[in-house]
Symmetry: C2
Subunit: 229 residues, 2 copies
């Protein structure tokens, strides 16, 4: 049944990680298994263990990819401009593989490029007047918000296989519109917006704006407090 006229790509660590990301994109990250990967490479499951210590290391390597493929940062302008650039870079990179984006979070501090990114982010936040604790919380929040934006986008349904997403979404919307309008007027009114996204760019822009706005506002009120004391 599974006629693999596979292009016979060489079995390397990078190739494995790439395949794993591809599988996660179309079938969700639960679909990436050692045995499945082996099959796609036309090789014994144990062959993978030469290139990757175990499955955890594979998932880690998948998470690392996002930092290694980060677009270049535009680091001009105010600190909040630069923070926005960080967010946009993250969203850009994570958006390439929504099904695996959540794997990035655990790797920021383990990965070289992730450490660099964190360093510069902490730098801009502390120079803006935030304390070490505040800067750390905000930096963590920035990364997590970026992950959230790409994985939770309305209609992304990252956990379900690509060819079932439509059906799942239709069912979801139907369930909402079937609700009694008297009790759930807002839910019914927002049914479309809650189950689909018809302007990705606007969605991402709004999400990033929301985050940056919060940081700017906190910074302003922190400064005001400091002036008082």
């Amino acid at each position: 049944m599974i006629t693999k006229t596979a292009p016979r790509v060489e079995l390397t660590r990078d190739a494995i990680v790439g395949r794993a990301l591809a599988i996660a994109d179309v079938e969700g990250s639960d679909a990436v298994t050692i045995r499945r990967l082996a099959q796609e490479f036309d090789v014994t499951p144990m062959a993978l263990y030469w290139h990757v210590k175990n499955k955890d290391e594979l998932l880690a390597a998948m998470g690392d990819r996002f930092y290694e493929e980060l677009p270049e940062l535009d680091q001009s302008g105010s600190w909040s401009d630069r923070l926005r650039a960080v967010m946009e870079a993250l969203v850009g990179s994570l958006g390439n593989h929504p099904g695996s984006a959540h794997l990035a979070a655990h790797r920021v501090l383990a990965n070289e490029a992730g450490q660099q990114l964190t360093e510069t982010t902490l730098g801009m936040l502390r120079s803006a007047g935030f304390s070490a604790t505040q800067a750390s919380d905000i930096a963590r929040s920035a990364l997590q918000s970026a992950v959230m934006l790409v994985t939770q986008m309305a209609g992304a349904e990252v956990a379900v296989a690509a060819d079932e997403r439509d059906a799942v979404l239709r069912a979801k919307r139907a369930a909402i519109t079937a609700l009694p309008v008297e009790r759930f007027p807002n839910l019914v009114a927002c049914a479309d917006a809650l189950t689909g996204c018809d302007d990705e760019a606007a969605y991402y822009a709004f999400g990033v704006d929301l985050f940056i706005a919060g940081v700017e506002r906190l910074n302003a009120s922190t400064k005001r407090q400091n002036r008082k004391t």
Copy 2:
């Protein structure tokens, strides 16, 4: 070895879900398996299938718990006060089971109590002047931010078993402090803040503040725009 002088609690759907949440809390959500639960209830794995359709339904039921156990909402004050109350209720409920909190996200619109919460949240946002799309995005963001706050708290390490968390955290911190200070001054300075949280209440307050501040600021600038046109 596993001498189960089990209190022999009755096998019911609620009991199963409760046990599952407890397991996830101390060993991470990967540790909850049908067979493991059966063992703890001193019963055959197949016995569980009478009370729960399959594992997905079990995970869904775990997610539902958070909405069913939501504390009462203080719905007085301005729209942003009420939005803050929603966030605090979510953080409160999710904080009871950090290891399973991520399961809540997929269930908001499927769960009765989740629908209610979404309805009132959308209501307060739209009455504040946000569009249906904006309100939907913000509501989704609010839930996801709450999940993030409890699962990503520095030192929570929700995926690793409780008795290994200390070792993992020590290793993490050691890795950071071992970094060259010239290249990573901020990372080193924030090592403690990045790997541990010494004031949970302050951490949650800051996280909620950050979110609310963002929404308030966006609302202000949206209003200004509307006035112009």
